[in-house]
């Protein structure tokens, strides 16, 4: 196999990893060395031309070739079977509606979350249950970090340079979960988004870290808490709409389903009730108004709301379908809300995972 990447040598692992630090080729953590043998194994697994490019990664525009993505995936700890998921995630992030260029450089603290659906999630032991956003699982860790390292090395948005995230969050190292599909009364996310039942897919969505929501009881009680948690004045959605994510645990979802609530029923209720008055929103200050005006001028803020009336209640998204609902986590009392970047981008994109040939 002919590979184009520059070849380097070191006397031992310690010397090699220090070279990665010196050249700013790692995110702050040590890496697995991308030896030619390891990199070739990933490329052979997917059976694609090493020089096929999925696109240019912003802001610096490094070509996301299969070869370069394999190098970075190895560094993140991926085995060959993880690599198709990395490729699908990068392909999804490069869709225009995700606005990866903006996501990687905005002052907002959003990070692109990778959500894996389908039988591949279970086969690769990508966690979808207790501690789903946390540590302990190679699938979540290696795929998540492989994706982030590819963005780091090929996109080159660094926090001391053009990545202007004011605070960011730890998911910059890895941000990958699977949806729980077995202990879930509803259709999975990727099927809602047009993929066939039983297929494998990745959905990416740029969002804040998960905010805990103490969510237990009857459907109306859970919805009351969720709706309130989704429309805090500090999140972008309330001011500039866009999309948002709600993660219900399997027990939450079971309770809804037992009482006859479909996922769309939940979504519609949240859209109608996760709202704040114009009086509350206006009290945030003139800058918030300016951003809202920008979205109105861009045609992304529907004109149906009377923003001059202080009692008007404004939603967090323009449409119910912009509230994404995923089932994951342990069977317990907690759900999570993950607000998005707003109307500027980071929107959810789903791509099928191409299994190896």
């Amino acid at each position: 196999m002919h590979l184009l990447s520059d070849r380097l040598t070191a006397e031992d692992y310690d010397e090699a990893v220090e070279l990665f630090y010196d050249r700013n080729w790692t995110d702050g953590l040590p890496i697995v060395l991308p030896t030619p043998r390891r990199v070739q194994a990933l490329i052979e697994h997917v059976g694609r031309d090493p020089q096929e490019s999925l696109g240019d990664i912003p802001p610096k525009g490094g070509a996301a070739t299969i070869e370069k993505l394999a190098v970075n995936a190895v560094m993140g700890g991926c085995r060959p079977e993880h690599f198709p998921v990395v490729l699908a995630a990068i392909e999804a992030m490069l869709a225009p509606e995700h606005n990866l260029n903006g996501v990687l450089q905005t002052t907002h603290m959003c990070v692109s979350l990778v959500i894996v659906n389908g039988p591949i999630a279970r086969a690769l032991r990508i966690n979808s249950r207790d501690g789903v956003f946390g540590n302990g699982y190679r699938g979540n860790g290696a795929i998540g970090r492989g994706v982030r390292l590819a963005l780091w090395n090929l996109g080159g948005a660094f926090p001391w340079d053009t990545d202007k995230s004011t605070l960011s969050h730890p998911a910059e190292y890895a941000f990958c979960i699977a949806e729980e599909e077995e202990d879930n009364p509803w259709r999975p996310l990727h099927v809602d988004r047009g993929c066939p039942e039983g297929s494998d897919a990745v959905t990416v969505f740029a969002c804040e870290g998960p905010h805990s929501v103490f969510c237990y009881g009857a459907p109306e009680e859970m919805l009351h808490v969720l709706a309130d948690s989704m429309c805090t004045l500090g999140n972008n959605n309330l001011h500039v709409l866009g999309q948002t994510l709600v993660v219900l645990n399997p027990l939450n979802a079971e309770e809804f389903a037992k009482r006859g609530w479909s996922k769309d029923d939940v979504r519609l209720y949240l859209w109608e009730n996760a709202r704040r008055s114009v009086r509350d929103v206006r009290a945030c200050g003139a800058v918030h108004d300016q951003f809202r005006k920008m979205e109105i001028d861009a045609g992304r803020y529907p004109p149906r709301y009377d923003l001059d009336n202080p009692t008007t209640r404004v939603p967090v998204t323009a449409r119910p379908e912009d509230i994404h609902i995923v089932v994951a986590g342990g069977r317990s009392y907690f759900a999570a809300v993950l607000p998005g970047w707003g109307g500027f981008g980071g929107f959810a994109v789903t791509r099928p995972i191409r299994r190896s040939r």
């Binding site: 590979l3 070849r7 070191a10 050249r23 080729w25 030619p36 560094m75 260029n101 920008m294 500027f344």
Partner: protein, 90 residues
């Protein structure tokens, strides 16, 4: 034992084109003021100051969105000016 491994980055591209020479004065110079559409009142104020204090001719170029790169046509138009002001945020 020597270990061989692959670079995760592409080789550095050729150096970008050098910037135009700065004019000695802004008097009568054409300034491309790239409006990021993030803080329009501030940008309007800046435009009036540059015109009033320095006698420059401002050509204001408004980006469709402050959260996406400038379209190539806008960059080409800005490049025709003597000076360009970019990156106006909050």
């Amino acid at each position: 034992m020597t270990i061989e491994f692959l670079s995760p980055v592409w080789p550095e591209q050729a150096a970008p084109r050098p910037a135009k020479r700065r004019p000695a004065s802004l008097e009568g110079a054409t300034i491309a003021l790239v409006d990021d559409n993030l803080d329009v009142p501030f940008t309007t104020h800046l435009e009036s100051l540059v015109e009033a204090r320095h006698g420059a001719k401002v050509r204001r170029l408004v980006k469709p969105s402050g959260t996406a790169p400038s379209p190539p046509a806008l960059i080409a138009e800005a490049a025709e000016a003597d000076v360009a002001v970019v990156g106006i945020g909050l």
